[in-house]
């Protein structure tokens, strides 16, 4: 998976986060590697984001996903890219 593809996944996750959480200016300021929770994204929005990601990327989350996967835009994108192989 190329850097371009990873970047596209990150960008799509940002778009989904805006859709479920609102505040495009806020989401735009959240760095890729920063904890979403510490950045102020509530767990409510996170769940909605997870559901939206299932639809957008065509996969289903697994209960065994470690918390660190859900930590940031970077880690979420990394999970999607890893699933695509």
């Amino acid at each position: 998976m190329s850097d371009t593809a990873v970047g596209e996944v990150r960008q799509r996750i940002r778009e989904l986060l805006v859709e479920v959480f609102g505040g495009p200016s806020f989401v735009g300021k959240v760095p890729d590697a920063v904890s979403l929770r510490e950045a102020g994204v509530p767990s409510t929005a996170l769940v909605a984001l997870l559901v939206a990601m299932e639809d957008a990327f065509g996969f289903e989350w697994d209960d065994d996903v470690r918390p660190e996967v859900l930590r940031s835009i970077d880690s979420l994108a990394g999970h999607v890219v890893a699933l695509r192989g």
Partner: protein
């Protein structure tokens, strides 16, 4: 489930209110406390897994009719941290100190799981301060608490052998109903896990689960509680069957049991509105007989 529905379904605003003055309850102890609404007081009791803000989503309707008071236990959340985990007696003293600090003469106590033991203790020690009890998914059993404590011991072992995410994976299928397990799916599981992780540290859970296994487990204690008591029980609560729930309620001189269809061990998670309606009906009827 569409994303916008998921946002509503899993809504947990766990943020603390800023600028809320803590309430001093005893020497060296101040508790974070939120008070919402007016009128007859309902005081929520955390079960070591919840924080005060967690209750908002499950008491919002009640707060339209009553004064809902939620607080963080000593050594938990934003309340004072002491070197030693408080005893049940000290937690009881904190409840009374909280009521004194808020100038509340008497209150209904709304407890869930492990905190139903605290509700029992407050009602026994200070019957004049308790208007009634709402025990949701109680750990009190009609014959004792051995099964509940065995489960708490297993949770504690999982926590100490692993970590909070592993504890959550152990607990989730036990305390969440079949219906919620199916409806929420993996995304809901992961989201609730995030809330769970945000509300407690390993030390808090260790201390809470350790304390939960202590205290008198005799059902006979319940026969001494004169306050009106509602057992709110999910019929999918693996810790207490509907039959046992009715037996438990019958131990209280003024007890009743309401069964919430398909709900689990924390029945208000399954049906927040239905639960609050049950509580409101219970309080209104209890007040009509005062």
């Amino acid at each position: 489930m569409p994303a916008d529905e998921a946002h509503d379904e899993y809504h947990h605003d766990l943020s603390y209110r800023e600028g809320v003055p803590p309430v001093r309850t005893r020497q060296g102890v101040e508790l974070y406390c939120e008070s919402t609404g007016e009128g007859i007081a309902i005081t929520t009791l955390n079960n070591f897994f919840f924080s005060a803000p967690f209750w908002r989503d499950y008491t919002d309707e009640l707060a339209r009719h009553y004064r809902v008071v939620s607080y963080d236990l000593c050594n938990h959340g934003r309340s004072t941290r002491l070197p030693q985990e408080p005893t049940w007696q000290e937690h009881t003293a904190d409840v009374i100190g909280l009521l004194d600090g808020l100038e509340i003469d008497s209150t209904y106590l709304l407890a869930s799981s492990a905190s139903t033991q605290l509700a029992r203790d407050v009602a026994l020690a200070h019957p004049d301060r308790v208007r009634g009890l709402v025990l949701a998914g109680p750990v009190l059993g009609p014959q004792g608490m051995r099964r509940h404590r065995g489960l708490q011991r297993a949770w504690l072992r999982t926590l100490n052998d692993h970590d909070i995410p592993t504890l959550f994976s152990h607990m989730y299928p036990e305390f969440i109903s079949t219906q919620m397990n199916e409806e929420y799916g993996a995304a809901g599981y992961l989201g609730l896990r995030e809330s769970f992780l945000a509300m407690s540290t390993p030390e808090e859970l260790n201390n809470g689960l350790t304390l939960a296994q202590k205290g008198d487990s005799s059902p006979e204690l319940l026969t001494r509680i004169q306050a009106p008591t509602l057992i709110a029980l999910g019929d999918d609560d693996i810790l207490l069957s509907p039959t046992a729930g009715h037996e438990l309620a019958a131990l209280f001189p003024n007890g009743r049991c309401e069964i919430m269809p398909k709900a689990g061990h924390v029945p208000f998670l399954d049906d927040p509105a239905g639960f609050q309606e049950l509580v409101r009906k219970f309080i209104d009827e209890a007040e009509a007989h005062v």
